[in-house]
C-alpha cells in the first residue's frame, strides 16, 4: 500500500462507518442466539426448570440489547463502547464455566433412566458459541479502539497542518 493509499484510507474513515467492528458484534449476537437455542432445545426432564434458566434468559436478552447498542456505537466510531464490549466478551467466556459446565457434569433421572443433561457434542458446540462470541466482542472492541485512535491521530495531524 502506497503512502497515498494509507492517507486515503485514513481520510475515508472520516466519512465511513466502522462496519468491521459492528459486524463482529453482530456475529457475537448470532452466536449467542445459537447458544441459547441449543440450551433451550434440550429435553432432559426438569433439569433446566429452575431460577438458573430464568436468569440465563434475562441475561441473554440483556446481552443482545447491550451488544446491539455497542454495535451501533462502534459503527459510529464512539470510543466508550469498546470498554463495554470487552466486558461483554469476558462475560461470554466466563459463562462457559457456569451453565454449560454444570449441565455437562449433571445427570438426571427420567422415567427411571439416568440421562446426561448435556452430551459432549452439545457441550462443545455451546462452548464454541460462547467462546467465539466472546472473542468477537473483544476483537470488535480492539479494532474499534485502533480505528478510532488512528482517526483521532489523523484528525489531529490535519489540524496541526492547517494551523
Amino acid at each position: 500500500m502506497t503512502r497515498e493509499d494509507q492517507i486515503l484510507k485514513k481520510d475515508r474513515m472520516l466519512y465511513t462507518k466502522d462496519t468491521l467492528s459492528a459486524n463482529l458484534v453482530l456475529a457475537a449476537i448470532v452466536l449467542d442466539a445459537l447458544y441459547f437455542v441449543s440450551i433451550y432445545n434440550s429435553d432432559v426432564g426438569t433439569y433446566y426448570y429452575n431460577w438458573v434458566i430464568g436468569a440465563s434468559i434475562i441475561y441473554n436478552l440483556l446481552f443482545m440489547l447491550g451488544a446491539f447498542l455497542a454495535s451501533e456505537g462502534v459503527k459510529n466510531r464512539k470510543n466508550g463502547y469498546s470498554v463495554m464490549l470487552i466486558l461483554l466478551g469476558l462475560m461470554q467466556i466466563g459463562r462457559v464455566f457456569y451453565l454449560p459446565t454444570m449441565a455437562h457434569e449433571a445427570v438426571v433421572t427420567v422415567k427411571k433412566e439416568e440421562l446426561v443433561v448435556m452430551g459432549d457434542e452439545q457441550f462443545y458446540f455451546v462452548v464454541a458459541c460462547l467462546v467465539i462470541s466472546g472473542i468477537c466482542c473483544c476483537a470488535a472492541a480492539v479494532t474499534s479502539y485502533i480505528n478510532n485512535k488512528t482517526l483521532a491521530d489523523y484528525v489531529r495531524s490535519n489540524e496541526k497542518q492547517s494551523a
Partner: protein
C-alpha cells in the same frame, strides 16, 4: 462525453395511447438540451426512453454512434437525476454518492477521491456526514447530482430536478446546474415544464406538445421566431397576446384599429391579402403610443415595468391583452391607454404556423 442521436423515436403504451410521435434529435457533445412543454406532452417519456426506463416502441437511439435502442438501462452509461431526489434516507451524503460505485465494487480509495471531488464541485464537503433529512431541498438535489457526477457517465439526464424547490432556491440551483455544465462540459438532457429554466439553461430547446416536437432551436430562436402558435404562447412570460386581424392593402384591419405594415411585413403577408391572420404581440413589445386603444382592467407594478391588463378598444369590447410598459404606471380600471407595438409576429389562422417576416436591414 457523448453524442446522442434519436431517430424517429415513438412510444405507444400497452393501452394503445401514443405518448411520443416521430421524435428526432441530434445532441452534440457537451450540449445542454432542454425538453420543455406542458404536463403530458411526452417530454418525461422521451427522457425515460433515453435512460432505458421505458421501452422504445419504434425508432433508433445512438449513443456515440453505437445503437443502444434495446440496451438495458445499466449498460447505457447514463446517469439520471430525478425530481424526487431518490436518495437513501438511512445513508449519509457520502454513502449516497458512493453507493453506485460501491455496488460495482470499485476500489474504495478511488470511490473516496471521486466523491470528495464531486462534493467539492457541488459545495457539499461540509455535508458529507449528514443524512438527507438534515439537508435543505437544494442540498438534497445537489447530492442527487453528485451521485450522477461521481459515475462520470456519458450522458446526464435531469427530470424536472428543480420542481420541488421554492422559487429562490430554484433560481440558485439553476445557476449551479449551469456552472456545473460549463465546468464538466457534459452532455445533458434536461426536462422541465418551466420555460424560464428552459430559456436560461439551454443551448437548444426542444418544445413539445401532445407528443409532437413543435420546434427545436436556441432559446433566442424560440423566443424571437416561434414556429407556431403553441410555441409562441408557451415561450415568454407573460405569454404572447393573440389578436385576429385582416390583411388589407398594406394594413392590418381590426374592429378597433388599423395598423400599417412595413415593407417586409407586406411582402410576407401578400399571400394572405383579404384573409384573416393571427397577430402576435409580446407584452414586452408594447409601449405607450398611438396604434390602438386599451381599456385598462388592472395594473400590476413590478418596479421597473408595469403589467397592464385590458381589452382592446376605447370601450373595452375587443380581445383581452397584456402590455408590459416601462416604468411605474398608475392606471385605474376603466382608464384608456394608447398603445403601439414595437414588434409583431404573424401566424396562419388555419395551420397555426408562423408566417416568417424577413428582418429589414
Amino acid at each position: 462525453m457523448a453524442e446522442l442521436s434519436l431517430q424517429h423515436l415513438e412510444k405507444v403504451y400497452d393501452n394503445n395511447v401514443q405518448a411520443v410521435f416521430d421524435f428526432n434529435l441530434d445532441v452534440k457533445d457537451g450540449e445542454l438540451i432542454v425538453l420543455v412543454g406542458p404536463s403530458g406532452c411526452g417530454k418525461s417519456t422521451t427522457l425515460r426512453m433515453v435512460a432505458g426506463l421505458e421501452d422504445i416502441t419504434s425508432g433508433k437511439m445512438l449513443l456515440n454512434g453505437k445503437d443502444v435502442t434495446n440496451a438495458p438501462a445499466k449498460d447505457r452509461d447514463i446517469a439520471m437525476v430525478f425530481q424526487s431526489y431518490a436518495l437513501y434516507g438511512h445513508m449519509t451524503v457520502y454513502e449516497n454518492m458512493a453507493f453506485s460505485m460501491t455496488l460495482r465494487k470499485e476500489n474504495p480509495n478511488v470511490i473516496h477521491k471521486k466523491v470528495l471531488a464531486a462534493a467539492e464541485v457541488l459545495g457539499l464537503t461540509e455535508q458529507l456526514n449528514k443524512k438527507p433529512s438534515q439537508l435543505s431541498g437544494g442540498q438534497r438535489q445537489r447530492v442527487a447530482m453528485g451521485r450522477a457526477i461521481v459515475r462520470n457517465p456519458q450522458l446526464f439526464l435531469f427530470d424536472e430536478p428543480l420542481s420541488n424547490l421554492d422559487a429562490k432556491l430554484r433560481s440558485a440551483t439553476r445557476r449551479e446546474i449551469l456552472l456545473l455544465h460549463k465546468r464538466l462540459n457534459a452532455t445533458m438532457l434536461y426536462v422541465t415544464h418551466d420555460q424560464t429554466e428552459a430559456l436560461t439553461l439551454a443551448d437548444r430547446i426542444v418544445c413539445m406538445s401532445m407528443g409532437h416536437v413543435q420546434q427545436i432551436g436556441t432559446p433566442l430562436e424560440l423566443y424571437d421566431s416561434p414556429a407556431n402558435l403553441f410555441v409562441a404562447s408557451f415561450i415568454g412570460l407573460p405569454p404572447m397576446n393573440f389578436v385576429d386581424v385582416r390583411v388589407n392593402q398594406g394594413t392590418l384591419v381590426h374592429e378597433h384599429f388599423t395598423m400599417p405594415l412595413t415593407q417586409a411585413e407586406q411582402k410576407a403577408l401578400a399571400p394572405y391579402e383579404g384573409k384573416t391572420v393571427v397577430l402576435g404581440i409580446r407584452p414586452e413589445n408594447t409601449r405607450v403610443g398611438d396604434e390602438f386603444k386599451l381599456k385598462v382592467l388592472s395594473n400590476e407594478n413590478l418596479g421597473m415595468n408595469t403589467l397592464v391588463h385590458g381589452h382592446i378598444g376605447p370601450n373595452g369590447e375587443g380581445e383581452r391583452i397584456t402590455c408590459k410598459l416601462a416604468g411605474w404606471c398608475d392606471y385605474k380600471p376603466g382608464d384608456v391607454v394608447s398603445i403601439t407595438c414595437t414588434r409583431k409576429h404573424f401566424f396562419d389562422k388555419e395551420t397555426t404556423n408562423a408566417i416568417p417576416v424577413e428582418v429589414e436591414a
